[in-house]
């Protein structure tokens, strides 16, 4: 009995220390406060987009004009999402998108326009509508373009301005640009224009090919550096390599950050990419494969090793009992 009492005390103080330095300290370290010292709760909305965060941010900044603009924009987006889109009619409109989103791997105004082959599968419908209406607003990085700079995709506003037309194009993507998508495809389409992953030999130009000659390899490397320089000039800094990101950031951070980068890193130039839940899961799977490939093996082996020591402890206890039997 006495031993159990002592054990309870040791366990209590160990857990107390753990609680204070881990969950509690990390919460205190990473919490965000508004101007009045009230904690801002950053929560995931299940990868659906209706501008809630964007409007709340503008409200916190106390910028009434901005609040009005954001509200009007997202109300409009929700309106469009209620329209019934005609996929057949949308095909022509989508043709315009292909002017840039053509897989030619050409940098346009800062980044290479992403491939849209699975846009309907990995992006949220509201987001797709929003990004056609106003890419900067959809991505919640309109602050970057407030002055003179134009969003590289800014001209879309003039090309597709009619709400029904937008609904049709989105309907087309949801119907024809969806289907099965692999984690690699999802990741490439959503992230690779800015982020490299050296553990999977991926750069801003995509998969790094194998070269027979050192000369070709170096030439390719220069092309990568040139592309990175352009991304850097556009983003202000080279977006980080994502090889180990799955272990460098917690689940909660990843979810909320991908949903709305401004929430976790106010002022960041990272745009919201508009992944839906499936798209996020695929991207996460890809990043896990790159940065934490042993996750599965770890989870499979764990019960066996722990089971072994449970058995070990039972046997050891019986041995101890027999050794100590005549002592008292």
């Amino acid at each position: 009995m006495r031993e159990l009492k002592i054990f309870a005390i040791v366990a209590f103080f160990s857990f107390l220390t753990y609680y204070l330095v881990e969950p509690y300290a990390h919460h205190e370290m990473h919490k965000k406060m508004d101007a009045n010292g009230v904690e801002i709760k950053i929560e995931s909305h299940g990868f659906t987009y209706d501008g809630t965060d964007d409007i709340a941010e503008a409200e916190r900044a106390g910028d009434a004009a901005r609040v009005a603009v954001k509200k009007a924009f997202w109300t409009d987006v929700v309106e469009v999402s209620k329209l019934k889109g005609d996929a057949t009619a949308g095909e022509a409109g989508f043709g315009m998108c292909l002017g840039c989103h053509n897989g030619a791997n050409m940098n346009m105004g800062g980044v290479i326009p992403p491939n849209l082959d699975h846009a309907g599968a990995i992006y949220d419908k509201n987001y797709l509508i929003a990004v056609i209406k106003d890419p900067a607003m959809a991505s919640n990085v309109d602050h970057k373009y407030a002055d003179t700079m134009m969003h590289p995709m800014g001209s879309i506003k003039a090309m597709l301005s009619d709400n029904q037309q937008i609904a049709d194009v989105v309907a087309y993507m949801l119907e024809h640009k969806a289907g099965e998508v692999t984690p690699k495809e999802a990741f490439t389409e959503a992230c690779v224009r800015c982020h490299a992953v050296r553990y999977t030999k991926t750069t801003q130009l995509g998969d790094t090919p194998k070269f027979k000659h050192k000369k070709d390899e170096l030439a390719y490397e220069i092309k990568v550096i040139e592309e990175q320089d352009m991304v850097k000039a556009y983003m202000g800094n080279l977006p980080p390599d994502l090889s180990m990101m799955i272990r460098a950031r917690g689940e909660h951070f990843m979810e909320t950050f991908i949903e709305n980068p401004q929430g976790q890193l106010p002022g960041t130039s990272m745009p919201r990419v508009g992944l839906n839940h499936e798209g996020y899961e695929k991207v996460k799977e890809y990043l896990t494969e790159a940065g934490d490939p042993s996750k599965k093996a770890r989870e499979e082996l764990g019960p066996w090793v722990i089971g072994f020591f449970v058995l070990f402890s039972i046997l050891a206890f019986l041995w101890k009992k027999s050794m100590w039997r005549d002592l008292h």
Binding site: R2, E3, I6, F7, V10, F13, S14, L16, T17, Y18, L20, V21, E22, Y24, A25, E28, M29, R198, Y199, P240, S243, M244, M245, R247, A248, R249, G250, G291, D292, P293, S294, A297, R298, E299, L301, G302, V305, I306, F309, V310, F312, S313, A316, F317, W319, K320, S322, M323, W324, D326, L327, H328
Partner: protein
């Protein structure tokens, strides 16, 4: 010249040459341990086992680790974690082991303090143990540099900066330690050497010394009773096990140790497989970047209490307080003036002192990680740091007036 005869067994052969039977007796079957103990007496063996696990896992990691600022991060996070078979397992074991070993060290130390096991002939046990604590700290710090992540780099920056001595501005010394103006290749390779060779060597030596210091004063017991070990051993050997106050190290004491170890390893491997972030800080999975200071720089949890003694004061006062705090624990056996070797609950005010110390160190640990920009945390940190510094004089005074406990009471 010793006399050698034809041996009939390997045991006999060895016995003639290295006195195997005597060795077994001295180290195992007739190394007497008090019977009146609880599971906290198993912490020493748990520490030995954990150190063993750290050595073994460390050897496996050493085969693939590359001490070079350009390669280190990827050799750990890519080569070991995804290319080497079970590399991830060894790394997680090493990481958890390095962290959890300090939990056990602290438990071991507080047990020693609670039961007064550093007094009356046992001073050297405490001192060699403190030596081990320092060596383990150095080992942990040098090891933390090796993955060359953001926290490795910046913790290295902060800790080596301490050697500038505040207003002494001894930056020459800091550069000498780093081998560069900032942590770089020279820095990484020397800490690599320290981590895999010199400090482990020192630790092994100190462990031997620590065991050695235990031999003559013997292990303490739950009541601090003064046992006549020879008499008790005779009783045991005569088969009067119930009457005897001692048990042999092997197999009786060990059977209990091994059970406690089993339970410990359940927790250990639970952490290895399912809850490792506390020991493998996510921030350190970002590669070292000298141009990007992390928002929060903090040491691993086991250094937080001393970090918090440094932090709330001005530069020079903080350094002095930090130095005193590090050294003070060494002197515990000499600060405690009490004539009693007894558990704290029998020592009046000392018991209060003990729990205040424990709670103060936990508070310091917590405040060491919490952002000091919050005035409440900064204040609590300051108060608990001052309290910690006052604990030494308080112990001296409390124990000076402590009454001798009569035997049999």
């Amino acid at each position: 010249m010793a006399h050698f005869e034809k041996a009939n067994s390997l045991n006999e052969w060895l016995d003639q040459r290295i006195a195997l039977n005597t060795l077994k007796k001295v180290l195992n079957t007739e190394y007497w341990i008090p019977k009146d103990i609880n599971f906290l007496w198993a912490m020493g063996m748990i520490l030995a086992a954990t150190f063993g696990i750290l050595v073994v896992s460390g050897i496996f990691l050493l085969m693939y680790y590359k001490p070079d600022t350009n390669l280190a991060f990827d050799s750990v996070n890519y080569t070991i974690m995804s290319e080497v078979g079970y590399g991830w397992l060894w790394r997680h074991i090493h990481g958890i082991g390095a962290s959890i070993v300090f939990l056990i060290i602290y438990i071991h130390m507080f047990v020693g303090i609670y039961y007064g096991s550093y007094k009356r002939g046992r001073e050297l046990i405490w001192l060699s143990g403190m030596g081990l604590f320092v060596a383990f700290s150095a080992e942990a710090f040098s090891g933390y540099m090796l993955p060359w992540g953001q926290m490795s780099y910046w913790a290295g920056m902060v800790i080596t900066n301490l050697f500038s001595g505040g207003s002494l501005e001894a930056y020459g010394l800091v550069e000498w330690i780093r081998g560069d103006y900032v942590p770089g290749d020279a820095y990484l390779t020397r800490f690599f050497m320290l981590h895999v060779f010199l400090i482990p060597l020192v630790i092994i030596g100190l462990i031997v010394l620590h065991f050695g210091t235990l031999r003559i004063p013997h292990v303490n017991n739950q009541e601090g009773a003064d046992i006549d070990f020879e008499e008790a051993a005779e009783l045991y050997k005569a088969g009067k096990k119930k009457e005897s106050k001692v048990i042999p190290f092997s197999p009786v004491f060990l059977s209990k140790d091994i059970f406690v170890m089993g339970v410990y390893f359940i927790l250990f491997f639970y952490l290895v497989f399912y809850n490792f972030n506390f020991a493998m800080d996510p921030v350190n999975f970002d590669p070292a970047d000298g141009l990007k200071t992390p928002a929060h720089i903090y040491p691993e949890w086991y250094f937080l209490w001393s970090y918090e003694i440094l932090r709330p004061f001005s530069k020079d006062v903080g350094l002095i307080a930090f130095g005193i705090a590090q050294a003070a624990l060494f002197f515990l056996p000499f600060i405690d003036r009490s004539p009693n070797v007894a558990p704290a609950h029998k020592r009046g005010l000392f018991q209060v002192w003990f729990w205040v110390l424990l709670i103060d160190m936990i508070v310091l640990t917590a405040m060491g990680k919490l952002p000091p920009t919050d005035p409440t945390f900064a204040f609590i940190g300051l108060v608990s740091a001052v309290l910690f510094l006052l604990m030494g004089p308080a112990l001296f005074i409390i124990t000076m007036f402590e009454k001798k406990i009569e035997k049999g009471a």
